[in-house]
């Protein structure tokens, strides 16, 4: 009875989609030769596809609304795997061993992909400071990434400085840009902040694209040297492995730093700022300083990731720093679970690695990415692994002590 009602609804939805997609899916025009191609078979696909999907959609929506009522009874198996020492210690050991031997059991190509994924882990962790911890919606994070990459490429080209000298320089320059962007937007909230950061990122990209004498324009900069290892000469395969280990180290560093920051005084100030700006100021937190540190620290990681990216690919051009990249990094943070470090790491690996291994669907990669973003937001908006805030539990003993004092005094 109920099922038939749902099937009927799905049927109408399928009809609606057939109508909706009719001109775009069926008709294809060649405006030059004035030929019209009719692809009627596509209608069939759309009809069947939307029928099945809408049925599943309704099913899951209902399941979701049911599960809301019974929330918080038992921790999910994933959460137990992550947070209970009995499970997470062995898991950690397995992951560590896998990370170390990875370049020796997989091909050069796989190592390169993994290195790219690790760059995104760094970017995700950096943006997590701004968006996840401090609640500053930054749609132009890629600007800092570009600043890092270009500062390495340009300073190396003009002054011949090496990777290790320029890594901190790139980080500092990016942090400087973070403050530069942070200063004017201090007074802005939410969506205004989003559009201004997006605007800044576009400005930086357009300047890189058009100011040929400064940045070599759209053709970019090539022959950027790879990082040195105490003067040892590495062939391309060895240096790829070297890059991989470097990124593993930097990712660990980023995880460590972000984790420490999260529970520090400044981290809690960020959380307060995210939850309520006014109340946070009333509690005596310096809003200006807190926001600027969030921007600067978030940008620092992007700057470093940029330097590493330039060193890894040995070629950069402005096309690597478009809005899509910012959207990708933001989706890593949101899909992973805002503020959650493990979530961001998993999401970064998933978002970068899955499309690589789904090359068969390479045409459908981006359309699937879009669809995944929507469905994730609807069915699991808290992300893969929701952030758990550290709680300070009050112990019985201290409670009785206070009582005791009360009684005495």
């Amino acid at each position: 009875m109920k099922i038939t009602a749902e099937l009927k609804k799905s049927f109408y939805i399928a009809l609606w989609f057939i109508l909706l997609t009719f001109p775009i899916m069926v008709i294809r025009v060649n405006t030059i030769e004035q030929i019209v191609i009719w692809r009627w078979v596509n209608l069939l696909y759309v009809g069947i596809g939307s029928f099945v999907l809408s049925f599943l959609w309704q099913l899951f929506l209902k399941k979701k609304s049911r599960s809301v009522q019974t929330i918080g009874t038992k921790p999910s198996p994933l959460r137990r795997l992550l947070y209970e020492p009995k499970f997470n210690r062995p898991a950690l050991v397995v992951i560590a061993i896998f990370t170390i031997i990875f370049p020796f059991i997989f091909s050069h190509y796989q190592v390169n992909i993994m290195t790219t994924a690790l760059i995104y882990v760094m970017l995700g962790l950096g943006l997590n400071i701004e968006v996840g911890l401090a609640g500053l919606l930054d749609l132009g994070y890629v600007a800092f990434y570009a600043v890092g990459a270009y500062s390495y490429a340009l300073l190396n080209y003009h002054f011949g400085l090496g990777f290790w000298t320029l890594l901190p320089v790139g980080a500092i320059l990016a942090a400087f840009f973070g403050i530069l962007i942070g200063l004017p937007v201090l007074r802005l909230r939410g969506d205004y902040l989003a559009i201004v950061t997006l605007g800044f990122a576009e400005i930086i990209r357009l300047i890189l694209e058009n100011w040929n004498t400064f940045s070599f324009g759209p053709s970019g900069i090539s022959n950027i040297p790879r990082p040195g290892l105490f003067g040892i000469k590495l062939n391309s395969e060895q240096s790829a492995i070297y890059m991989y280990y470097l990124l593993v180290i930097f990712c660990l560093l980023a995880i460590f730093v972000v984790h420490r920051l999260k529970n520090s005084r400044i981290g809690r100030a960020w959380n307060a700022l995210r939850e309520d700006e006014l109340a946070c100021q009333a509690a005596g937190i310096d809003k200006t300083r807190t926001k600027l540190t969030a921007f600067a620290l978030g940008a620092t990681w992007a700057g470093m990731a940029g330097v590493l990216f330039a060193a890894k690919t040995t070629f950069i051009n402005p096309a690597s720093f478009t809005f899509l990249e910012s959207a990708m990094i933001l989706s890593i943070v949101v899909l992973g679970g805002m503020g959650s470090i493990i979530g961001v790491v998993i999401a970064a690996l998933a978002i970068i690695l899955l499309p690589e291994y789904l090359r068969v669907f390479s045409d459908y990669r981006m359309i699937l990415f879009g669809a995944v973003l929507i469905t994730m937001m609807i069915f699991r908006p808290q992300g893969i692994i929701a952030d758990m805030r550290k709680k300070y539990e009050s112990h019985k003993t201290s409670g009785s002590k206070i009582k005791g004092i009360d009684q005495n005094g």
Binding site: W16, L19, L20, T21, P23, I24, M25, I27, R28, V29, T31, I32, Q34, I35, V36, L61, V131, L137, P184, V185, R187, L188, R189, G190, D191, Y192, A194, I195, V196, L198, G199, F200, E202, I203, L206, I207, N210, E277, L278, A279, A282, F323, L324, A327, L330, S331, V334, Y364, M366, I367, F369, G370, A371, V372, L373, I374, M376, M377, I378, P381
Partner: protein, 300 residues
Amino acid sequence: MNYFGELFFSGLTRGSIYALLALGYTMVYGILQLINFAHGEIYMIGAFTALIVASVLTVKGFSSIAILVLAAVVAVVYSAAYGYTVEKIAYKPLRQAPRLSPLISAIGMSIFLQNYIMLAQTSDFLPYPNLLPPIPLFNRFSNIIGPSELSIVLTSAILMILLTLFIKFTKTGKAMRATAQDKEMAMLVGVNVNRVISTTFIIGSALAAIGGILIASHTGRINFYIGFSAGIKAFTAAVLGGIGSIPGAMLGGLVLGLAESFATGYISSDYEDVFAFALLVLILIFKPSGLLGRANNQKV
């Protein structure tokens, strides 16, 4: 002087398109506090639908005025339907979600629609026929403003006046204003908020479709990516004017269009978008809620 006039009218043309698109952003934002990132894609779909219909009708040998009317009507209807569907799929289930969720969902929708058009149609630029009717002009103006520019400015002006009247005087318009002010209160006094939201999306998408047809006819080419940059510009215009404010969106669009036109004409054409965003940043620094936006007091 002639050069100035030329720039002025090209700015006005651009500005009216930005304004048409910005209206969609601002209306949705006013009601849902959501940046509808997919709005630019609706505009692109409108232009594509019109192109498809127009090409089919051209092959079938219709007259140019019939082509224009039919293509515009079909494009408007379809864009409105897309806008309605997008809202139902990507935003409606997220009404109670934290602010970032619908934004991500909107970005996802934007990527989805872009790629949908790319896969179903083409990734190349398509030449776009000029669908706009030739308007006879006085000779002394013809070197300053072209016929398509004039029809863009006129059409947008008429649409904006109609929209203002609609919002001011009809019952639906009143319901929209009430919902924008306070969704829960509007619900309590018997406004069907869901229907108001759908109407908002439908109106915004219809305006975007008209904008899409106008600009594609004017520039003469189209691909699946045109919605993105136009969308960002239009959103910039909406923020410039004060997001949520309808006259603000119109003013913001015009200011942005004129500023871009003069900056490219007198300074450099490479940095067109840089000027647009720099203007946005400048205005927001001095007037954080936009030109006509109300500074609403934050409450704890």
